[in-house]
Structures are given as C-alpha cells and as structure tokens.
C-alpha cells in the first residue's frame, strides 16, 4: 500500500508540472484546449492526493507499522480518535496535509472561475500547480510519508501525550486551510499582474477564498490558544513563541487585505497596496508553515536544523524575488484611479486600519527574528520575550480597537459633520458612562492601558449595537415588519456589512478578555500538605485528599497512572471541588526499571478549571512522587516483578496508587484567577459567526430576481433620460 501512496506522489508531481506547463502554454499561445487540460490536471492532482491521504490515514488507523511514519508517531495503545490526527503531528504528514488542502482548494477555485477570468485563471493555475509541485518535491526528495520499515516493528513510539486533545486534532487542519486559502488570491493576483488586468476583477472572485482562509486561520490560532490555556501546565494562552507569532502574522496582513480590497472594489484605489499585501500574506503563510522546520530560529517547537531549511529558503527567495520584480514592472497599471476625498471617509480609515495592522505585524516580525537581527548587528545572539511584545503591541492594539469602532460609523467618500455628530452621540455617551462606572466601582484604574481598552470596547459595542438598531429601525419604517423579522431580513440582505459589524464586536470582546486577564491576573504558587489551606482574594482552597487512578484517565489519552488532588474551594457562600492531576505515561526506555518506567516517561498536567463569566479559577498540581520513589525502587529490584507479565506489573502500580491515595504527600499547586478570560473565546465565537454570515452566498434565484428588478428600474431611467 505504501507503494500506491508513493506512486501517487510521484505521478502527482509530474501532473502538477504538466498543469503548470500546459496552463502557461495555453495562455500564451491562445490555444485554450491546453488551458482546459491544465485545469483538469489539477483536478487529477486533487484525486491523486485524496488517494494518498486515504492510504496514509488507513495505515494510521490500522496501526500498520510497516509505514515508518506510523511507527514513529502512533502506537497500538493510542486511542483511535488520536490515531487519526497523529498523521499531521509529523513533519511528513503535515506536508501531505498541506498539499492535499492546496489541491482541493485550487480545484474548487479554478472550477468556480472556469468561465470567467480567462486571461488570469491559467496563470493562477500555473502558480498553484508550481507551489504544489514544490511541496511534492519536498516530500519525494526529503521527507517521504510513505517510507517503509523492514522488518516491521511490533509497536510504535506513540503520540506525544501533550497532543492528545481534541483541539490539537483540528488545530493543524484549520491553520493549514488558512495558509493554503491565502494562496488562491495570491495566485490570481500574480495572474492579474502578468496579464496587466489589475482592476478589481481578480479580487471579486477570490474575495471569498480570502475570507475563508482568514476565518480558518483565525479559528485555528484561537483554538491553539485555548488548548494552551486549558491543557498546559502554565495557565497562559499566548507565549509570543516564534511559531505562534508565525501563525499570527499572516492573519494580521490578511485582515488588512480583507479591508483594503473593499477600497479597491469601490474606488479603484490601493491597487499596489493590495497586491503587495497579498504577496506578503502568502510569504508569511509559507513562513508560518516552515519556521518550525527550518532551524532558523530557536523555539520550543524547533529542534536544531532540519533538512528542509535550505530548499524552503530558496523557495521563499524565489517567491519574493519573482513577485517583487513583477510588481515593479507593472507599476503603471497599479496606479490609483481616484484620490482620497476626505480624511473622514471609510477609505481613509480603512487605510489607517491597514497601517496599524501592518505595524503590528512588523513589530511582531522584528521581535520574532530578533535573534538573527541582533546577531547580524552586534555579533551576539539575543532574544526578546513577552515583556517586549506586550509593550509594543498594546498601544497598537488600542489604536486598532478605536479604529474598529469608528469605521462602521463612516460612509464611503465622505461623511457630513452633522452625520458624524449624530452617529457619535450614543457611543460617546456609552464610553463615558463605562469610564465613570469603571473608575467608581472597580480597580480598573490600576492599569491605564486596560482601562483605556475597556472604554474602547464599550465604544465598539455601542457603535455596532447602534448600527443594528438604526438599520432595523430604518427597515421597519419601509416595510412595517416586526422587530425580530426586520433584524433578520436586514442581516440577510446585507450579509457583508452586518457580518463584518458582528466580527468587529467579536474582536472587541476578545480584547476585553485579553486586557482584563493580562492586567489583573492573580497567580499563586503554594505548597500544601493534606488538610492545608490557602486563601486568596475571595477563595479559600483546602487540600482535602489525594486521587490516584489507573489507565482510563478522563480525557481518554491512554495514561497509565494519574495522581492528583481533591481541592475543596470555598468562595463566600459557594463551594465547589477541583481535581487537578498529573498523568504519567509509560516510557519504552529500557534503562529504567519495569515499574520505574511508568513514572519516567512523559507526564502531563491535567488542569482543572472552573469557568466563569467574570473570572476563571485555574489549578494545576505537581505531585511529589519522591515519596513513592523508594517503593518504586524496591519493586524494580524485585526479580519477581521483572519476570512478571503486564497484569502483575499493573497490580503493583495499583498498589502504589493506593499508597498515594491513602497517604498523599504534600504537593506543589499553582492557582490562577484570570478575570474575564472566557470573553476571549466568546469573542472569537462571535467573530466566527460574523465571518460565516459574511461568507454565506445569496441564493441564485434571489440574485436573478434582484438583477432584473434593478435592470428594469435603470432601463426606465434610460428611456426617461
């Protein structure tokens, strides 16, 4: 079966190269049959990669260890749910996923535009095929997912327990759909530049793909943050690690792109800016994919240099060089058709918003690559950490939220001062009221940036609320519908606008959570003995007892033994129980004793978290297994244990667990009280909803009806004029 997979890749590479060649030849010579043939080749590529994916996934699900990749990343005791996702936890599997998604999305994009863009589409097809060919080449030449092992090992190394979480199953596919999604508008932009058709045409068809990519990438990033917060033992959601930053940067430029293409569609401005932005987004997406594999940067994710570093670097240089040369040579066609009428217009503020977003991206880029920069400048490698990133991004984030509030209020071209006053009255009042309330009733004044952010969040929510309110009211005047129906119809008929407003509200909520949880987090590390208690602002936690369980941990991740604690928490009148624990996984290391093996493998923190709208209480435990060490060592030395079967060994472990449960030793606890952190996830969900509303296509029947309505009206004017 591995042979079939390998064959798919090899034929796939040839197909991709043919697709690129045929599309280019067909475009240049005007012989359309080659363009069609090239497009079909891309459909074939998608088919081949579906087959390859099926082969690989089947191997994982069946634990077929003749596949080297399966032996490396999975094991018979990995739960089935995680066997399926183990594929993209590996280098080779993730490359496979990337090119698979690329072929599917490219096929979709080329199918949808097969009757339009006859000038641009062939070049776009060629670009997409070339990118696919590169990834296929990487796999065939360097990291083949279908490499086989002979003789076949009986067991695999297993999936890293840290990755055994549902969010980690969908996090990579979401991110990759985002990265791949941005290559569609990139490819069409290149096609538009080559053919000098730099009007808004290339944007209109690819806008949906850009929005799709943005949505998936953003959701993937947020899920990663959620996983970090709820699963890992440090209780934070963002560490400014290079790999995290690498995924955020294309999202930022993608956000800028989504806004600035509206300006080009409406007014023919910012053409040069838009092509540059999408090229940058694509390059950053490639960077995001490869940073962890290139060995360029030290990150907790990277481990020295990998074989892919050089080819990737060459590819990026080619992409940047080629795109820049192309843009420079088409300078004339990229001139704006119009000028900014007034600074009080949507165009001006979209441009401002773009500048802020690009600035945020630039500072993150600077900080992420700082080790390389400092080495080049000063000769010694130094790095910057979260304090730097937080310091430079906070003022920019504040500016961004402010703009997000002003934008919806404006109109294209210009807004009358009277209109502006009318629109700003309610939001300004709401902001002021919030400021007063915060100063009077909370300790928000302790952090000025947080206070400013809170007020701006109120501002944005007020603006968005006002837009929905006024829109509904205006519609009711015209149609006399009931309020709920008017609201529904309003949103349905203006999806892009109101979906966008909803997304702005979501972003505001997200920043509310970020500001509150960053500025007012309360962290305590305590060492408690059983019966001991420690109090915080409002809570008192008492270490009631120990917990120990074998196999079957709650999360179903296949841990051998879990040790933890029962914490009785009292908050005023409320009482609840938290059970943080630590999972211990068996290692296959032969140098450890048969019982010691259970405690010397990977260990993960199973956090217990109590969500709340106002604050979260997060706890983690570091049990002291030193007390068990003597017992473990005794068991290891016992010859009966060494010769015993797994059932016997498990009984010994059960006995140890019982010792722990009956007489739990003191343990190290970490408790975090994070205010309003749940609003980050809520805000993200609202953004997702807004994006989905904006993405949803209007049914064709209605479109046709409307077109004819408009056409009839204009026709009347034509005859009347």
């Amino acid at each position: 079966m591995a042979a079939l997979g390998s064959a798919c890749l090899i034929i796939g590479l040839m197909t991709a190269l043919y697709a690129a060649g045929a599309s280019l030849y067909g475009a240049r010579s005007g012989r359309r049959q080659f363009v069609v043939s090239g497009r079909r080749a891309i459909y074939c590529l998608a088919g081949l990669l579906v087959v390859a994916m099926v082969v690989l996934e089947t191997a994982f699900l069946r634990s077929d260890f003749s596949f080297a990749l399966v032996a490396q990343g999975s094991s018979t005791d990995t739960p089935t749910f995680y066997k399926a996702s183990a594929m993209w936890a590996t280098q080779q599997g993730s490359l496979m996923l990337w090119v698979f998604l690329l072929s599917i999305l490219s096929s979709a994009a080329l199918f949808v535009t097969r009757h339009r863009h006859r000038d641009i589409a062939p070049y776009a097809a060629a670009v997409l095929a070339a990118v696919g060919a590169f990834f296929l080449f990487l796999m065939i030449a360097y990291e083949n997912p279908f490499a086989t092992l002979s003789p076949v090992p009986p067991e695999g190394a297993g999936l890293n327990p840290l990755l055994r979480h549902p969010a980690m199953m969908i996090h990579p596919p979401l991110l990759y759909t985002g990265y791949v999604g941005f290559s569609i508008p990139f490819a069409f932009a290149i096609g538009a530049l080559i053919t000098r058709r730099t009007d808004a045409d290339w944007i209109r068809s690819t806008r949906r793909f850009a929005l799709l990519a943005w949505t998936f990438l953003g959701t993937g990033i947020l899920l990663g943050a959620l996983w970090s917060y709820a699963e890992l033992g440090w209780g934070g959601y963002w560490a400014w690690d290079p790999v995290e930053n690498a995924s955020l940067m294309p999202w930022l430029t993608g956000t800028a792109f989504l806004h600035s293409i509206m300006v080009q569609e409406k007014r023919g401005m910012l053409k040069l800016w838009n092509v540059s932005l999408i090229i940058a987004t694509f390059v950053l997406a490639l960077l995001g994919t490869f940073l962890v594999r290139s060995g360029i940067l030290d990150s907790i994710h990277a481990f020295g240099a990998s074989t892919l570093g050089t080819p990737f670097l060459i590819f990026i240089v080619v992409v940047i060089g080629g795109s820049t040369a192309l843009v420079l040579s088409r300078r004339r066609e990229l001139r704006s058709e119009a000028r900014l009428d007034s600074l009080l217009s949507r165009e001006a503020f979209f441009l401002l918003n773009n500048l802020v977003l690009v600035a945020i991206c630039a500072v993150i880029f600077w900080g992420t690559f700082f080790p390389l920069i400092s080495e080049a400048v000063t000769g010694t490698e130094s790095s910057v950490g979260p304090p730097f990133f937080n310091a430079v991004t906070t003022p920019l984030a504040i500016a961004l939220v402010l703009l997000a509030g002003i934008g919806p209020v404006l109109a294209w071209r210009r807004v009358t001062p009277a209109g502006l006053r009318r629109a700003a009255l309610f939001p300004a009042a709401a902001t002021l009221a919030t400021l007063v309330a915060l100063l009077a009733f909370t300790r928000a004044r302790d952090s000025v940036p947080a206070l400013v952010m809170f007020c701006l969040v109120a501002f944005v929510l007020a603006v968005v609320g006002q837009e929905f309110w006024r829109g509904t009211a205006a519609r009711r005047i015209a149609t006399g519908e009931s309020r709920p129906r008017a609201l529904g119809q309003l949103v349905l008929r203006n999806r892009r606008r109101y979906g966008g407003f909803l997304a702005h509200a979501g972003i505001a909520l997200l920043f509310l959570g970020v500001a509150a949880s960053s500025a007012f987090i309360d962290q305590r590390d305590v060492r408690l003995s059983p019966g001991g208690a420690r109090g915080g602002d409002a809570n008192t936690a008492t270490y009631r007892g120990g917990t120990a369980s074998l196999g079957g941990d709650d999360a179903g991740t296949g841990a051998a033994i879990s040790l933890g604690a029962v914490l009785d928490v009292r908050k005023g009148e409320q009482r609840f129980v938290l059970r943080p624990s630590r999972n211990y996984y068996r290692t296959a290391d032969p140098s450890k004793g048969p019982i010691g093996r259970f405690f010397e493998g990977e260990a993960t923190s199973e956090v217990d978290l109590r969500w709340g709208l106002r604050r979260d209480l997060w706890t983690a435990i570091q049990p002291d297994v030193a007390t068990l060490t003597k017992a473990v060592q005794r068991l290891d030395r016992d010859p009966r244990i060494a010769n015993a079967g797994p059932a016997q060994q498990l009984r010994a472990i059960a006995a140890l667990a019982e010792i722990y449960r009956r007489d739990p030793p003191p343990a190290q606890f970490r408790a975090l009280v994070s205010p309003l952190v749940v609003w980050i996830w809520v805000g993200g969900a609202v953004v997702l909803m807004g994006a989905l509303i904006a993405l949803w296509p209007a049914p064709e029947a209605r479109m046709r009806r409307v077109s004819s309505l408009h056409g009839a009206r204009l026709g009347r004017e034509l005859s009347g004029a």
Binding site: C44, A478, T479
Partner: protein, 117 residues
C-alpha cells in the same frame, strides 16, 4: 535509490495512464473558438452586480444618516450613470437579461437594503 519493486512500477504506470487520459480529453477536442464574448459578458455581469450593490449601499448610508442628501444625490447619480454604461455594453453583446445564465458567483445581492420600494 533502491530498485523499484514490480508492484510499485505497476502502480506508477496505472496512475500515469489514468491521468494522461483525463488531461488529454480537451486536447483531442482541438482548439475551441476563443469565446471572448463569454468572458466579457461574465466580467460585465460581475461589474453590474457590484455597481448595484454600491447603489444599494449608498442608499443605505443615506437612510442611516451617514451620508447627507446632497452627497448621496451626487454619488447616486454617478453610480447610476456607470451602471447604465455597463448595461449598454451588455446590450451590445446581445445579452438578454431576463434569460441570463447564473450570475457571477462572487457578488451577492439582495433587494433594497432596508426594504422594498
């Protein structure tokens, strides 16, 4: 490079043949008449939809009070003139609007933004 086993060679050959069959179909059809008309019509349709949306958006801005009546009149007149031009072009292509094929997929539209007329 280890030598290829016969089953691998077989897989390669079968896949190559399948792909070749699929991509050769258009080549055997010979060169199509370059239907530039089709593309032009599709592009005009898309431009028309976009123009309609702009007219609707401007009207909505007026109703929400963001755009003054004079500004709106100026913008609206300009947009309608541009839309009429596009309709002229479509007419020239001989397109019958009532029996148009499916409009361009990238431009959603709706009835009046805040209600019918």
């Amino acid at each position: 490079m280890r030598s290829l086993r016969s089953v691998e060679v077989l897989a390669l050959v079968i896949l190559a043949v399948l792909v070749a069959l699929v991509v050769a179909v258009p080549l055997r059809r010979g060169s199509e008449v370059d239907r530039r008309d089709d593309q032009r019509r599709a592009a005009l349709e898309a431009a028309k939809e976009a123009k309609y949306r702009e007219i609707r958006d401007a009207e909505m801005d007026l109703r929400m009070g963001k755009l003054g009546p004079e500004d709106h009149r100026e913008i609206d007149t300009g947009l309608r003139a541009e839309a009429i031009e596009i309709l002229h072009e479509l007419d020239k292509l001989g397109a019958d609007e009532a029996s148009d094929p499916s409009p361009a997929p990238g431009a959603p539209a709706g009835e009046g933004p805040v209600g019918g007329r």
